[in-house]
């Protein structure tokens, strides 16, 4: 099925990426007010936070079919010159090829730690958000179903939601999350937050005074969990039990998002 590295793509990517960051970079995501779901919103916010931390200019473009425009089928994605890149890690790598990095001053063991905690967040917070949106009946009926179908006409809204639900359930089954109870999911979130709070140890950011992509990723997830109105606010209450994480979220919001509105 696959044969090896697509060398040509790689060379084009490396050569093209060495050009400076263009001014017309666009970040595509679903409609924030009426369509986007909790896990997608978390990922979009994480990428936005990362680009803002790198001080890179971009314009947010909302599209109802952003998911289908993305090369990997996941949102958000950016269009930067001739390149279309989706998801946080590939975007971080792409930005690195332009000589911009938030982790250049970290030690090797700090970089390992950062990647390990990013895996933890992807595995625990992302799967918990998917579980909550698609497997918790109340959240599914009151939030996920109407929001996901809002941009499609009848009967496509039902069909599209059903297809996506089936895909998410298959993914959760594969990851061993579908068989968990909601209490087990909350327990996982609590453990994950505790692990992150342990690592943060009251510092400004995870690795000192400057933010990294881990801070951006955690900001995306926690800010979304804290601010998204859901029928069951238990997950937000769990996060609220960790003041150091709340401080981090507030700091990132103040430093990288509010200054735009103040200008």
């Amino acid at each position: 099925m696959f044969s090896g590295t697509p060398l040509l793509d790689k060379i084009q990517y490396e050569l093209g990426a060495q050009e400076p960051w263009p001014k017309d970079v666009k970040l595509y995501q679903p409609y924030e007010v009426e369509q986007i779901l909790l896990p997608d919103n978390a990922n979009c916010l994480a990428v936005q936070a990362f680009l803002r931390m790198c001080n890179l200019t971009f314009e947010v473009v909302s599209k109802s079919n952003a998911e289908f425009m993305s090369p990997s089928g996941k949102v958000p994605f950016i269009r930067c010159g001739a390149f279309v890149i989706s998801e946080l890690e590939p975007i971080v790598q792409f930005v690195n090829t332009k000589g911009i990095s938030l982790t250049s001053e970290l030690e090797s063991d700090q970089k390992s730690d950062m990647r390990a905690y990013m895996s933890l967040v992807h595995n625990v917070l992302e799967n918990s958000e998917l579980y909550l949106c698609w497997c918790d009946k109340e959240t599914y009926n009151e939030v996920t179903k109407p929001r996901n179908g809002s941009v499609y006409p009848w009967p496509l809204n039902h069909l599209q939601t059903w297809t996506k639900k089936s895909h998410v359930i298959k993914r959760l089954k594969m990851m061993g999350w579908f068989s968990k109870t909601i209490d087990q999911v909350y327990h996982e979130v609590e453990n994950c937050c505790q692990a992150l709070a342990d690592r943060l140890e009251g510092k400004e950011f995870f690795f000192g005074k400057n933010p990294t992509e881990l801070d951006a990723l955690i900001f995306g997830h926690l800010f979304t969990i804290l601010t998204t109105p859901l029928p069951n606010s238990h997950i937000a209450n769990i996060v609220r039990n960790f003041p150091s994480l709340i401080n981090l979220v507030q700091r990132v919001e103040k430093d990288y998002f509010k200054r735009d509105t103040m200008r």
């Binding site: 099925m1 696959f2 044969s3 090896g4 590295t5 697509p6 793509d9 790689k10 993305s70 090369p71 990997s72 089928g73 996941k74 890690e89 590939p90 090797s108 063991d109 970089k111 390992s112 730690d113 990647r115 390990a116 905690y117 895996s119 933890l120 992807h122 595995n123 625990v124 895909h167 298959k170 993914r171 594969m174 061993g176 453990n191 505790q194 692990a195 342990d198 690592r199």
Partner: protein, 299 residues
């Protein structure tokens, strides 16, 4: 084999013996299945009295599986949860250290475990040479075909699920890059050539990392990309050799059920073999009939 017979093992250990059914070892790996090997490694590292049953038939009871009194565990996640509770030296770590350990386990599984699984079960030549041949020879016919069909289909579904709309090559290329970085990070953890990965005590992280790496290093893969990444990291390679030597000293480096990768490889397809078998049977029957060895009755 009872590990409980080990003279080093404290006789005061009161836990009832556990029977574990695992896939046997081959080509220098104590077991060819990562989950089976994780179970074996934890039991060896923590001197848990277990009865190991190398098993070849996964249809009556799953492989791997754990049996303790009347309790039978077959689900992989539950098996791992069960054996990780046996890591009593891990209790020396505080809650904070255990949570960090968990982050590293997730990291390894996501960036190496996943790509390795796809590399074995999805990559066509790797699958045909290493996986299909091994299971075809180990599991009796026709159950081997059924088992391989089920497992391959599951792997393909999972692969399609995670790659979504990406091209298979592009997706795997990014996975290989992630695996290379991950291996570099674990190599760095062993930078002073320490015995174990974390705090120098045997933990569940060691069991996971060792199990995947020893299989990946020795499996005869036609596409050796991941193997090449591993062999670039000397501390990691030393670590794997050291663990094998200490906990699995009797491991055979012979290729029992599969040929090494440099051997001439020209396996006839199963369909051809079945057709050939049927033709031979018909010819033999005709020969026997023409020579009067048996006669068909005419009413």
């Amino acid at each position: 084999m009872y590990l409980g017979n080990d003279p080093e093992y404290p006789t005061s250990y009161t836990r009832p013996p556990i029977t574990i059914r695992v896939w046997p070892g081959d080509y220098g790996a104590p077991s060819v299945d990562p989950t089976s090997l994780i179970v074996l490694t934890v039991c060896k590292m923590h001197k848990v009295p277990v009865k190991i049953v190398p098993a070849f038939f996964p249809f009556l009871v799953d492989i791997p599986s754990i049996e303790e009194r009347n309790l039978l565990i077959v689900d992989k996640e539950k098996i791992l949860d069960y054996v990780f509770q046996l890591c009593h030296e891990e209790s020396l770590l505080n809650a904070r250290q255990r949570r960090k350990l968990r982050a590293y386990k997730q990291y390894f599984m996501q960036h190496f475990g996943g790509p390795f699984y796809f590399d074995c079960w999805i990559h066509e030549t790797n699958f045909t040479h290493a996986i299909e041949t091994w299971f075809t020879r180990v599991i009796p016919f026709p159950f081997n075909l059924l088992y391989l069909h089920q497992k391959r289909k599951l792997a393909q579904n999972e692969f399609n699920l995670v790659k979504r709309t990406s091209e298979a090559d592009t997706f795997m290329s990014s996975k290989y890059e992630g695996a290379a970085v991950c291996l570099g990070d674990f190599d760095y953890l062993l930078k002073d050539d320490r015995k174990f990965l974390y705090k120098n005590i045997p933990t569940s992280l060691d069991a996971i990392v060792y199990s995947y790496l020893v299989i990946a290093m020795n499996m005869p893969l036609q596409n050796p990309k991941l193997q090449q990444f591993i062999y670039r990291h000397k501390w990691l390679v030393n670590y794997v050799h050291r663990i094998t030597k200490e906990y699995f000293p009797n491991t055979s480096y012979q290729f029992q059920y599969v040929d090494p990768v440099y051997a001439p490889y020209d396996r006839v397809s199963t369909k051809c073999l079945i057709i050939f078998g049927m033709c031979v049977t018909i010819l033999m029957a005709l020969y026997a009939h023409t020579n009067g060895i048996f006669k068909l009755k005419k009413d």
